[in-house]
């Protein structure tokens, strides 16, 4: 794990440099990339690049394997009305978060990115609205919702009440599709009325 992290950290240093080439004709209202800001990809497709070497955001590390982060995230999820749209993970006004399907990626930095930026079909942007450490805790709680351990703790029709900490191991693969150890079998087969 350590050597792997060093590789990724190395890439992190390289990638922003590559992106720092100033554009020939700057677009109005679009500033240059901020030096040192980590790149977070939200597409699995990177032309010519194997997805195994996608960079990791070192800021995310503290929120993996962190039991307090998911508990705090659960409180914040209510406090900032995330639950109003996503319920207790099952969705409603917004999509469900507990089925192991990730449009923008399952890593904490990718979930964090969604919280910061928002998404065009109705997800608000929370940049400058919620302090950054709390956004990471929210990301950890959202990631925890589809963990087998969190799902196994469900007792009755209100899930995600006992969130398991997010093991660093589950996000070794950046995972736009559920990997074997994080998927659950929901949704693959629905049997009709008997």
């Amino acid at each position: 794990m350590c050597s792997r992290f060093r590789i990724e950290a190395g890439l992190l240093l390289l990638l922003p440099l590559a992106a720092c080439q100033p554009p020939q004709t700057p677009m109005p209202g679009v500033g240059p990339p901020v030096a040192g800001a980590p790149l977070v990809r939200t597409s699995a497709l990177v032309p010519g690049v194997d997805r195994e070497i996608l960079p990791r955001d070192p800021r995310a590390l503290a929120y993996y394997d962190n039991p307090q982060a998911v508990v705090d995230g659960k409180r914040l999820f209510q406090q900032f009305n995330c639950s109003g749209c996503h319920s207790n993970g099952g969705g409603g006004m917004g999509p469900d978060l507990m089925d192991g399907t990730w449009i923008y990626g399952s890593r904490l930095e990718q979930i964090h990115q969604t919280l910061v930026e928002g998404r065009p079909n109705g997800m608000p942007s929370w940049a400058d609205k919620i302090p950054d450490p709390q956004l990471w805790e929210l990301a950890a709680y959202v990631r925890s919702m589809s963990l087998p351990r969190t799902l196994a703790a469900q007792n009755g029709p209100t899930p995600s009440q006992t969130p398991a900490p997010v093991p660093r191991a589950v996000d070794q693969d950046p995972g736009w599709s559920p990997s074997p150890d994080t998927s659950n079998d929901y949704g693959t087969t629905i049997v009709g009325p008997q």
Binding site: Q78, Q79, F80, N81, S83, G84, C85, S87, N88, G89, G90, G91, G92, M93, G94, P95, D96, M98, D99, P120, N121, G122, M123, P124, L151, Q154, G156, P157, T158, P159, S160, D185, Y186, G187, I190, V191, G192, P193
Partner: protein, 622 residues
Amino acid sequence: MIRPTVALLLLLCPALHAQTVPPGVPAGEVFTPEQIGHALAAPTPQAGRTAPSAVNAPADDGQWTMPSKNYASTRFSTQTELTPENVKGLVPLFSFSLGVNKGQEAAPIIADNTLYVVTAYPNYVYALDLTKPGAPLKWRFAPNPLPASQGVACCDVVNRGGTVSNGKYIFNTLDGQTIALDVKSGRPLWRTRLGNIHVGETLTMAPLVAKGRVYIGNSGGELGVRGWIAALDEQSGKLLWRAWNTGPDADVLIGPAFHPFYAMDRGKDLGVSSWPPDAWKIGGGNVWGWITYDAELDTLYHGTGNPGPWNAQQRPGDNKWTAGIFARDPATGAARWFYQFSPHDQHDYDGINEQLLLDLPFGGSMRKVLIHLDRNGYVYVIDRKTGQVLSADPYGPVNSSRGVDLQSGRLEVNPDKETKMDQEVKDICPTASGSKDWNPSSFSPQTGLLYIPHENICMDWLNLQVSYIEGTPYVGANVHMKPGPGGHRGELTAWDPVNRRKAWVVDENFPIWSGTVATAGGLVFYGTMDGWFKAVDARTGQALWRYKVDSGVISQPVSYRGVDGHQYIAMLSGVGGWSGAVVSGPVDTRDGSAALGFVNVMADLPKYTTPGGTLYVFALPH
């Protein structure tokens, strides 16, 4: 003895658990109609025949130009070709894909041999030429509403339809616009932005047009949006007036002409004083359902939605003017009377359901009444001149209240079913979406019966403390719905409003979320959430015909006379809405609290139907 086995099964089969529905609430948990139904006088059916006035329901021209058919909102077609004898031969003549697989709640509109329909977001409008085989497209229009509006729509991205008036098709968009299209060209004549998605406001209701004015109301009761009704000039789209449903009298357009019947609705600035400080500014009372114009009394009637947040412990007081009904001057918006169905609503009982304007025998004489089927479970018969409640009877299972006190006008809330923060209150009936939600009833003057499409659902409710963040949900409750007594979740009830009783009831497995249409041939049409479109005998409820469409039905069926003189039935498939979000949205059935608690009682719907969106037109082969 059974319980451990069931528990073991659930442990072994989590997937099964996720797609099953809890058992029905025991019958003994709810009151009988005799216990809680009240009227000011005994039935006097001999005093006259129940019917809309000719002013509010003019002679049927075979068209269907507004969702409610006429101002009386009878949704009754005088076409007689289809009868209980021949309806078994009804076949689909053509269908048309709407290109949108979200909940389709609109009524097809028929004017000048053209059929108009507006879809759920992104609110495409289609005009089809009914004079040619296969009804080819005349034009279509894409209003391009802001995609972010999807994120502030509480209950799927629905639209309840448009209306045709003076050469215009007028409809709303999810992102807060009212648009008038030229029916000939499909080009916009005007577009007026009334709603602001940044505060959580959307438009989902069907505009009402009367005497050169377009009436619109906002949605957003689950996001702390302050409710209003507005009038636009039909020619220009210019705002004529806007009345808020909370706040100071000046905002509510309450003035010297305001004469509510009951003392509980009288007093200065009740829209402020019946709330904690400033809570009225984020208190809901939206107008997302039906607005009715009374051409006889030149009066506008509209319900008001639930107060926000759902957690009633955060807003002590009666929370005026939410969960009630206003009568207003259509020219100025000035309030004439108000009646509050659910003061200090604790159960999300919006007052926005349809109003039928009828002349009805009561207390020995004919009275001009408004009949309203409220979410709180009662059929209200209201004198529409004064706002006095003449009778209030349950049409579905009720235990959240013990009837309506007809002296004070006040709903008698059952203290056992008041919602709490420290305790989940079980088996509250009816559920948050009510004994019936927005989907409208019809009335046949031939049978004197109302055909009420409704739900048989109850719920468990836990209040949660919630903070207001502009543009985000302001709910504060964990709700889990469950079937009502009997275990079936829907009912089509034929209601006799004079004798205050059910004539017949058809049980349905799923809640009925479609409207009904009654025809002079003696039929009632409605659709089910598992995708059956059905005809029953208006006198007996006997099932006569059904056809399986491509997706569940939550729209408003209509009946019209074609260019060839034959009778046609038009409807939309496309499941969704609050009750159908479990199919139309990305929702996980393992979370019973999902979709504001509806998923708990609809977890099996994905076994029966898939998202869709298609216009169907039916006729006898000819």
